[in-house]
Amino acid sequence: MTVAQTQSSAAEMVSLPALLERNAAQFGDREAYREKEFGIWQCWTWSQVQQEIEALALGLINLGVNEGDFIAIIGRNRPYLYWSMVAAQSVGAVPVPLYQDAVAEEMSYVLGHCGARFVIVGDQEQVDKVIEVQDQLPNLEQVIYLDPRGMRKYDYHTLHQYSHVQDQGRAARDEWTPDLQARKAKLTYDSTCVMLYTSGTTGKPKGVVLSNRNVIESAKNSADFDKLTVGENILSYLPMAWVGDFIFSIGQAYWCGFCVNCPESADTMMTDLREIGPTYFFAPPRVFEGQLTSVMIRMEDAGSLKRKMFHHFLAHAKKVGGRLLDGKPVGLMDRLKYKLGDFLVYGPLKDTLGYGRIRVGYTAGEAIGPEIFDFYRSLGINLKQLYGQTEATVFITVQPDGEVRADTVGVPAPDVEIKIDDRGEIHYRSPGTFVEYYNNPESTASTKDPEGWVATGDAGFFEDDSGHLRIIDRAKDVGKLADGAMFAPKYVENKLKFYPDILEAVLFGNERDRCVAFINIDLTAVGNWAERNNIAYASYQELAGHPKVLQSIKEHVQTVNASVAEDRMLSGCQVHRFVVLHKELDADDGEMTRTRKVRRVIVEDKYADIINALYDGSTQISTSTEVTYEDGRKGEISATLDIIDADVVPVRMQAVAAE
């Protein structure tokens, strides 16, 4: 059964509760959710899910939830929390999922900004955080928690266990059902579906209001684009507060009726991935990088026959795998050899990684290294890229099957219009375009114009021959060097980050005469290298300052410089000097967003002393930095860092003239 055939009554499908009713009627016995608990995959069918959500919705009415209330939802991906979002919608409230690793202050800002009266959380840890900031939140009334563990000693006046709320809902069914039905009937295509706070690389998070129209239209278009069916299985492990997870695990799952699988815990994600074998999968580049690194490390330890076989067939896959996937012509012998390789190497490898059944895979959020991207595609995994943002309900551009490349983000998604202004900034307009920023008309007005065009803040251009969009950098980060040449830090940083031993890089140089960089090493990759080379180290800091590590990073920087020099417009962005930082840039210290994007301004301000040293010619800098531990306590790290000079390729005259 295809999605198209099931959409006979699409006109009435104007909200997620309505889609839930349809799914319970049409796919009642199909699995809707699975979660591994106590080592066993627990399942719920669509009709069971409908009953669970109804019980919770009745319980929420019973607790006094009014239409228009905001209900914050905090916790790791669990079916129960996904249900609470739809239960909230059913009673006319607005679900607001929050990042579960947010520290109490961050949480307090969001809860205060939307004035949430109710909070539904996963466990004791989240309850404690909410209690910690409770007195700053005059609107907060009740907290509902899922896991009763460790919760026996709390004050229960405003605390309720999830299952008890459902029990009370069931008990009060007769009393509240008419009310619930009436509230559901009031939902329209323009009612608010969800409010998602953007991580905000600058300033405070903003609440992006998405309507049912935004969510359902985007889910429908993207499901059609990739021909998603009711038979898909996805693994939901990315933060629930992120728009992508909302669209994949709720929007598309409800539209298509497919099954959402939740891992047992964050640590078991890789095992669970293998057990589920999703058919449709989404991961940020770092997940793919991590998997590839671990495969390569394990192959180093394998027997020599296996290792040789692995590398032999991998080389062949690299040659023809991508072409086969794109449906391009490949010789018969090569095809046969690929089949053999599939039987001996690719198939088992894909099974081990959990990609044995994958039909469509996406990566987005950051640029992915071409080698990593090609590795997965050469194995026959249909990995693609998309470009999107919260304000667009994810989709702006996507790569169609057969037109996939590592350096572009594809063509406009269905029903999306795109224009690029004279400054190079990308603007779009689509059915997914957000309604507004909650309680922030100024930001709404400066982002979305009266005709509905939204400025993405990203600079990019369409390639003439293919019509694919290429992203250069954040528009506001694109600057000029002192000599007027273009400064696009992301372009260089991404090239650096493609090396497995470089986790993060930050380039500086706006308004300066040359560029310098901060570099974070990847502890897994470099630690493994150190182990194999018998280099002892006690800490991240020690490893980061090891002369051999610095030497190899220097080589990477010089290779990148050579490749940057070849780009006509950006050759001025070569790295003249760099330091390997003594600590990892961390979201807990505010240096990165929760989605691991560097907050440039904060980093620049915090490490001003190091940047000065990079420019004033000194060879060493002593510095001390405040760090925040996971539990919110603060400490200090001090270090003396070596500043390394890197060779640069002389910039040719026309590079400057190109401006």
Partner: protein
């Protein structure tokens, strides 16, 4: 001291019941060496009881007396209202006493799950042949016991290493697996021999939380030996302090902290 049968409630709301185990005038000698000299103390239901002391004070010997591994030359051990005869360690285990070891004692080649399952041995009635056939009673039994084990795996957050052979685990996790195995026996009294030895601060914090949670969640009575004074003072309800085989202090952490004999033993004064 309060009446022995009296239950009390701690400030964080846990109930401490009557005496579960009582050591009466225990003396333990190895040849001419007196490891424990005339020590008496009790352990009450639901409490966390620590035994501390400098190196060589006789703490581990005391734990081994409680676990039945050593039989003292003098004195009696009373457990749940009756005097305990000399017993083999497995008989003590059947009475509901489980322990962890200072030097981890797990089955290295077996998975975490199988190791923890061995903690359920006393609850399994079927024999090796029935288990090999895995029919009827044996299958049902394994399912029941596996459920208990899975709850403990969930409790100690070791799901991700369920199928990992123990030999491949880092030290801190092995310690946690040992605790899991001991908890799987659903003990009436849990003995922990230096549960934090060799751990870093973070691992210690995790372990402390698990010990407190186990005590709180399952109501397990816990007796532990520990070197780290900070940890002991935070965790325990009452502390016995030993030095050179003698008991030099007994009471709440605050009482013990202010006890002159204890301060001397730790800071060192000349023993004449």
């Amino acid at each position: 001291m309060k009446d022995m049968d009296d239950s009390s409630v701690t400030e964080d709301g846990r109930t401490i019941g009557g005496v579960v185990m009582e050591m009466k005038n225990i003396t333990l000698r190895f040849g001419g060496v007196v490891a424990i000299k005339d020590i008496s103390f009790d352990i009450r239901e639901g409490e966390i009881r620590a035994i501390i002391g400098p190196n060589g004070a006789g703490k581990s010997s005391m734990l081994n007396v409680i676990s039945g591994f050593y039989v003292p030359q003098e004195g009696d051990v009373w457990f749940r209202g009756s005097k305990r005869p000399a017993m083999r360690p497995y008989e003590v285990a059947r009475q509901g006493i489980a322990r962890t070891f200072q030097n981890i004692a797990l089955f290295d080649g077996m998975s975490v799950l199988d190791n923890v399952m061995t903690g359920r041995l006393n609850y399994m009635k079927t024999n090796i042949f029935q288990q090999a056939l895995w029919r009827g009673r044996a299958e049902a039994e394994e399912t029941e016991n596996r459920e208990v084990v899975e709850r403990i795996i969930d409790f100690l957050e070791i799901q991700a290493i369920r199928k990992t052979p123990v030999a491949r685990l880092p030290y801190g996790l092995k310690k946690r697996v040992e605790l899991a195995r001991a908890l799987a026996a659903e003990p009436k009294l849990l003995l922990l021999d230096e549960p934090m030895a060799g751990m870093n601060v973070e691992e210690k914090e995790d372990m402390s939380r698990f010990i407190l949670d186990a005590n709180d969640e399952f109501g397990t009575t816990i007796a532990l030996i520990e070197h780290d004074m900070g940890v002991v003072m935070d965790l325990s309800d009452r502390v016995v302090v030993m030095d050179y085989g003698k008991k030099i202090g007994d009471g709440t952490p605050d009482e013990v902290r202010n006890n002159q004999a204890v301060i001397d033993a730790y800071l060192g004064v000349s023993h004449d």
